[in-house]
Amino acid sequence: MPERKEKYKKVAYYHGCALEGSGQPYNTSTRAIAKKLDLELVDIKNWNCCGAMEVKNVDPEIQTYLSSRVMSLAHNDMGQDVVMAPCNGCYHNLKKAEYDIANKEKSREVVEKISAKADHPKYEAGQVETIHALDWLKFGYGEDELKAKIKGGLKGLKVANYYGCMYTRPRHIFPEKDQGGDSDSTSQPHYMDDLLAIAGAENVDFPLKTACCGGAHTLSDSDTSTKLVLNILQAAEAAGADVIATECPTCHSGLEMHQIRALKRMSAETNVKVIYFTQLLGLALGLSARKVGIHENVSNSIPMLKAKKIA
């Protein structure tokens, strides 16, 4: 643990495309927390798309190369050995590329060929460790230290922690998970629960914490996505949650947008709020709602947070 604390204190920050657009509040709050906790985020310069799902579905090897280039930049240009990716899609794709390069000859060949053509050093498996914002805060700052820093906290706030699909699936690409001890679980992830409990929140039992939000079909089959999201929102409310805490910009915007769509198209009203876990932690650390970008969310949680004296 002390080793990770030292290692994660200064990390290469790969926010990816979503955090510059619809997921901007996630970016804002992650940076605000880093500043508050004296954790150094070094932006990866000249970064590219991780390959997301679009490239991956056309040619998975190109996705592997794209993600490998990000890791190569961190290792070869910046001398960093840890990449922190808060977006579940980026995190998932970098982990997948790591797995591919370590295990598949074809992936290594493609990465070598395109890297040579693009005239940059190829990435080799093991040169960097990719972590999520959850790992970064849990181990880079430490739970005891975080507890000592909490001001006011999230007392009285009931939270349903929603991890989405890409943080845990498929299991192969996350060899550090399911190892017992302080590792996270792929079937019952708990790092977000742990951090928000430290911040004073009351985590509710939420059986759909890794269920599909329909994110992949939000444009091609909006009704299916709306129904899946509505079910998640209703389950969170049935569990007694005031808030769904998120850690994925795709899930987050899907929950927010389809909450509105469900009301308009199906007259199905839900009132549970959707807030990034970094925003909640930031509030618990005494940062203002504006500083963590609460006003940038679609879901208006300010009145509820004020009523609970959290914002």
Binding site: P170, I173, P207, D221
Partner: protein, 138 residues
């Protein structure tokens, strides 16, 4: 096998409050039926085997074979089993109605995911879009 849409409608109907175990069995069975539809649509005969004592888990495993994106409902199937177990163990618990209501939402998610996936096969590809590596390593 009832049509898929009928399973969805049945999950919307009021649950028998005076018999929580019957309601839990009904929802567990609805989950099995949903997975049976998935398998039948893929020309597979739904298994009668059990995994960890539950057919639904064996059906899920059968449905995910060769189609890793189907794993996106693995935990949903397991949550149904969990809810069934706690209701069966403590039918008179003060939270039984709440547990039943949650179990219904879990079953509904399985229904929405699988029926959505039968319309648009790609649903679930996002999370399990590392399909190529899984196919190479299973």
């Amino acid at each position: 096998m009832r049509p898929v849409a009928d399973i969805g409608k049945a999950l919307e109907a009021p649950l028998p409050e005076n018999d929580p175990l019957a309601a839990a069995i009904f929802m567990l069975h609805a989950g099995e039926e949903i997975l049976e539809h998935w398998l039948a649509a893929h020309d597979k005969t739904p298994t009668d085997e059990m995994k960890e004592g539950f057919r639904i888990l064996a059906l899920h495993r059968q449905g995910a074979k060769g189609d890793p994106s189907f794993n996106a409902c693995r935990e949903t199937a397991r949550e149904l089993v969990y809810h069934y177990n706690i209701i069966r163990l403590e039918p008179d618990h003060a939270d039984t109605l709440k547990r039943l209501s949650m179990m219904r939402l879990v079953a509904n998610h399985l229904f929405l995911f699988v029926s959505g996936k039968m319309e648009v096969a790609g649903l679930g590809e996002f999370c399990c879009s590392s399909k190529p590596i899984r196919l190479n390593t299973i």
